[in-house]
């Protein structure tokens, strides 16, 4: 309901936009009636919500395709990029964060802190363009962008995935590194670790069973948040790498005031957040027995 109202409240008229700058009242009225936007807002909401419950999210003003088919077409690309980015992020973040927590204020720690600061602050589009210019331009190792389904061309799929996944992965990874570092540090200082050490476990056992497992909780939380963010589309990276994901779709829908697509996309993002939060909660219980009951 809020989504519906907000989307409609944004200034800008999709019909005017569809007509471009050239304006003609009769054409305008005809299009308005066809889109159903001349109905009262409340009526529009209930007919939309009713149809949404049955899985019918309506038809795009812009393309005339159903919203569900548009979303379904872009979902694989978004999923691919999100999962790959999270993998890159974790591969960067866990070793780096742990190392710097184990040796606080050491050279490793300082380097990791600086790197993650850079990762957070460097604009994604800049990093993306630099990567394109270097790896697609100068070196010519990778294609400059685009997407092919895994099933069509696995090698091409992987080669196109590398650069966008690295850019988003570095950004997410930088954020996660900091969380890993602070949660490992905290876990190291916890009493049960002292106990574990006291009762004579090897440092490896202490680390795997008592430190890492406890440090995992905040890590799972932040990874969940990052994944949800990645799934709702990384607009800038998608645009620079011509990656046909949901972020691009949502952006186009905003620009064209394509209400059905925008509402469908926002609904999907909301569901994604809910599902990921649920999964995160379930993971908590798997990791931490205290929460199980």
């Amino acid at each position: 309901m809020i989504v519906f109202a907000l989307v409609q409240l944004v200034p800008g008229d999709p019909i005017r936009l569809a007509l471009g700058t050239r304006f003609d009242q009769e054409t305008y009225d005809a299009l308005l009636a066809r889109s159903g936007l001349d109905q009262p807002l409340v009526q529009q909401y209930f007919s939309w919500a009713g149809r949404a419950l049955t899985g019918d999210l309506g038809v795009s003003f812009r393309s005339g395709e159903t919203v569900t088919s548009q979303i379904a077409e872009r979902l694989p690309a978004t999923l691919t990029l999100a999962v790959a980015s999270i993998l890159v992020a974790l591969v960067i973040a866990i070793p780096l964060g742990t190392l710097s927590a184990l040796r606080p204020r050491s050279v490793v720690d300082r380097v990791a802190t600086v790197l993650s600061q850079i990762g957070i602050s460097v604009p994604e589009f800049w990093m993306a363009i630099v990567l394109i210019l270097v790896f697609a331009g100068t070196l010519g190792w990778l294609p400059s962008g685009g997407y092919v389904p895994l099933t069509d061309d696995p090698v091409g799929w992987l080669r196109r995935l590398v650069m966008p996944a690295v850019v988003t992965g570095v950004v997410s990874g930088s954020v996660i590194t900091r969380f890993v570092r602070s949660s490992v540090l905290e876990a190291l200082g916890a009493d049960h670790v002292r106990t574990a050490q006291a009762k004579g476990l090897t440092s490896r056992q202490v680390f795997t069973w008592h430190v890492l497992r406890n440090a995992l909780l905040p890590l799972v939380t932040i990874t969940g948040v990052q994944l949800a963010y990645l799934l709702s589309g990384v607009v800038v990276v998608e645009i620079v790498f011509s990656w046909p994901g949901l972020g691009q779709l949502a952006l186009q829908a905003v620009q064209a005031r394509d209400y059905p697509v925008l509402q469908g996309a926002i609904l999907l993002f909301a569901v994604v957040f809910l599902v990921i939060n649920l999964v995160v909660d379930l993971l908590y219980t798997a990791i931490d027995p205290r929460i199980r009951r």
Binding site: T21, R22, P95, L133, V148, R159, D191, T195, A198, V240
Partner: protein, 656 residues
């Protein structure tokens, strides 16, 4: 002997002093318990305490009192804490802080929690010798666990391997996804800036759609590539009646649609009536049309309500006036499918690219390439890189700031030509002081159009004080405003305007170059006392505010104009559909009306020239520049012609 309740003992519920884990029953013994229960340890205790071997029992209470009682019992029995000797070695008691294995935690009581610590055991506080009561408390220790770095190296190495595997790939240049040459004349891959919104030529208004549709559909007449005058396409010839109200078109024979059906006059009648009857976005182009009728299969008659010298432009300027087969809207889903008469057929389209294949039965002869893939690359730098490394062979998405440097670059063929687009600024006649002609003229005198064009397009634009570009037949050389701040100030004074005057200038990020150029305009107006507030809006909001008249001034362009009527009529006629600024001049109205119906080209041009001069003098529009069309392709690509109307036609293109 007892262990505290935060030390796991199989089968004994534990609480750890917290309600959250109440009822937790460990499934594993704590290490210390395992050790305590080890037979050899028990034997040692029995021996140390002088008891018969096997007397030791395992207790299951966790109260402090029990603990203490046991401890005191130790004291009484043994007179001190036993120091086990013998087989306990470091092999048994390991750990970073285990210290001397002989002082190992073999004790009557092991505390596990220091936070609750001994606070609830006042009897233990300050005793000074905890060992004496048999309780080993934790030593204060640094929270550092000495995991050696080597433990993490395999992980880092794995990460490095993974990245190498992704980066390696093997071959050096990607040609997957249909790029490159080879096979049936090869596929041309063209990088375009955006995805087509849909493929119904009568409905869409989006340029990315027309880039594709240009190659799929035909119109009765088309603008020629050389001078944009109209030449035959699906119509081979046409004639106009004496009164100029009836146009008779003779249609081309032996034309087939992509589905194999024959093209005839019924298709033309259907297509035009679809636009008119359904009031589709181009129906304004038929404003003067009374009827469209077939006269036999090869003849179409268009009857007009008033002479319309620009009828050819109305029906042929772009593929929005495409001829569909009769009942196409019922037979196929025109938003996703196409059935035209053009050189290419629509094969497929998804969110990464649109693919066309050559139509072998095209009336103009089959195209020489086997197909065209339009790949969407929004970021100009990425599109250019893709062109340079051979992923694509053509693009119109060239970063304007790189135009100059690319001109001497051998890896790319770059061409520019002045376009039929024009960009302008317009002020709101309904808002004082912009209703004052002197104020508008002052602003026109203050602006240096060359500098604005340079800022917007890095030199790839021609400054112009009227709308129509120099190459057009209808170009009129009229440039009364040379940058002159003194005269501008004088005009403002004459108008009685208090300076500094604030003027909102509405631009849209849909056209980012206008945002940059607006800053130049602002800096040029500042010296004459006009403080420009640039409002950068998204296009939807921009259009909304333009429609509501909620602005002081705006900056936008008109694209794809071919006829002077398109350049001037709707924008400057009193009450014209696109006369947002609210300009009204009876003399201009009369000249525009004269131009719209005059069938003699020279007389027509004279009428429009005169109208243009008044429009420029009154500053209905403050014309700025005509940008160039900029396109780039792979060296060796031939048969492609860059066009001023930005139509992109790959019919005769040949791959290198």
């Amino acid at each position: 002997m007892a262990v505290k309740d935060d030390v796991a003992v199989v089968g004994v519920p534990m609480m750890n002093g917290s309600a959250t884990v109440e009822g937790f029953v460990p499934a594993r013994d704590a290490t210390v318990v395992t050790r305590l229960l080890a037979p050899e340890v028990r034997r040692q205790y029995d021996a140390a305490l002088g008891l018969p071997v096997g007397t030791m029992l395992v207790g299951r209470r966790s109260e402090d009192t029990t603990c203490l009682r046991v401890a005191h019992a130790f004291e009484e029995l043994s007179g001190g804490f036993p120091r086990p000797a013998g087989p306990l070695t470091s092999r048994h008691v390991r750990g970073p802080h285990g210290g001397d294995p002989r002082t190992c935690p073999v004790a009557g009581c092991v505390t596990g929690r220091s936070r609750s610590g001994n606070d609830h055991r006042p009897d233990l506080r300050g005793t000074g010798d905890r060992a004496r009561v048999g309780c080993r408390t934790q030593q204060p220790s640094p929270p550092e666990v000495p995991v050696r770095r080597t433990r993490l190296l395999p992980l880092a190495a794995a990460a490095a391997l993974l990245l190498t595997a992704c980066g390696g790939g093997g071959e050096s240049v990607d040609t997957g996804g249909g790029g490159g040459g080879g096979g049936e004349g090869g596929t041309l891959v063209a990088a375009v800036a955006a995805q087509p919104d849909q493929f119904d030529p009568h409905v869409t208004t989006a340029y990315p759609s027309f880039q594709v549709l240009e190659n799929v559909y035909d119109t009765l007449v088309v603008p020629s590539a050389e001078d944009l005058t109209f030449e035959p396409s699906l119509a081979t010839e046409w004639e106009t009646s004496e009164d100029a109200l009836t146009w008779t078109f003779t249609l081309r024979e032996d034309v087939t649609f992509h589905d194999g059906s024959e093209f005839d006059s019924a298709d033309v009648v259907y297509s035009y009536n679809r636009i008119i009857d359904e009031e589709l976005s181009n129906s304004f182009r038929f404003a003067n049309v009374e009827s469209v009728a077939a006269d036999g299969p090869q003849t179409v008659v268009i009857t007009l309500s008033q002479p319309t010298p620009n009828l050819l432009e109305r029906i042929g300027s772009f593929k929005g006036m495409a001829i569909l087969p009769e009942n196409a809207a019922e037979d196929i889903d025109l938003t996703t499918e196409a059935n035209g008469t053009g050189p290419f057929q629509l094969e497929s389209s998804d969110s990464s690219s649109t693919v066309l294949t050559a139509f072998e039965d095209y009336w103009g002869g089959a195209p020489s390439v086997g197909g065209v893939e339009f790949r969407y690359i929004t970021e100009p730098a990425a599109a250019l890189t893709a062109l340079q490394n051979g992923e694509v062979q053509w693009t119109d998405n060239v970063p304007p700031q790189q135009i100059e440097s690319l001109e001497g670059d051998d890896s790319v063929e770059l061409q520019t030509t002045p376009s039929v687009d024009y960009w302008y600024m317009s002020m709101n006649y309904a808002r004082a002081p912009f209703d004052n002609r002197d104020v508008r003229r002052a602003i026109s005198f203050a602006i240096d159009r060359e500098a604005v064009a340079e800022a917007a397009w890095f030199g790839a634009a021609q400054a112009n004080q009227t709308a129509i570009p120099e190459d057009s037949f209808f170009y009129h050389d009229y440039a009364p405003f040379q940058p002159d701040p003194d005269q501008a100030r004088q005009l403002l004074q004459q108008a009685g305007v208090q300076t500094p005057l604030t003027m909102g200038l509405m631009v849209t990020d849909e056209f980012p170059e206008t945002v940059t150029a607006a800053q130049v305009i602002a800096s040029q107006l500042e010296p004459i006392g006009i403080d420009v507030e640039i409002e950068t809006l998204d296009f939807a909001t921009w259009l909304d505010r333009q429609g509501q008249g909620d602005y002081d001034a705006f900056y936008l362009g008109w694209l794809g104009n071919l006829d002077p009527a398109a350049y001037y009529q709707e924008q400057h006629q009193t009450g014209g559909p696109n006369n947002y600024q609210g300009y009204s001049n009876p003399q201009v109205d009369q000249l525009l009306q004269q131009g719209a119906t005059e069938t003699d080209d020279a007389a027509r041009k004279a009428a429009y020239d005169q109208a243009a001069e008044i429009i420029v003098d009154d500053v209905s529009y403050l014309y700025l520049y005509n940008p160039d069309v900029v396109q780039a392709w792979a060296p060796g690509l031939s048969g492609y012609q860059i066009r001023a109307d930005k139509a992109i036609n790959f019919e005769s293109v040949e791959l290198p």
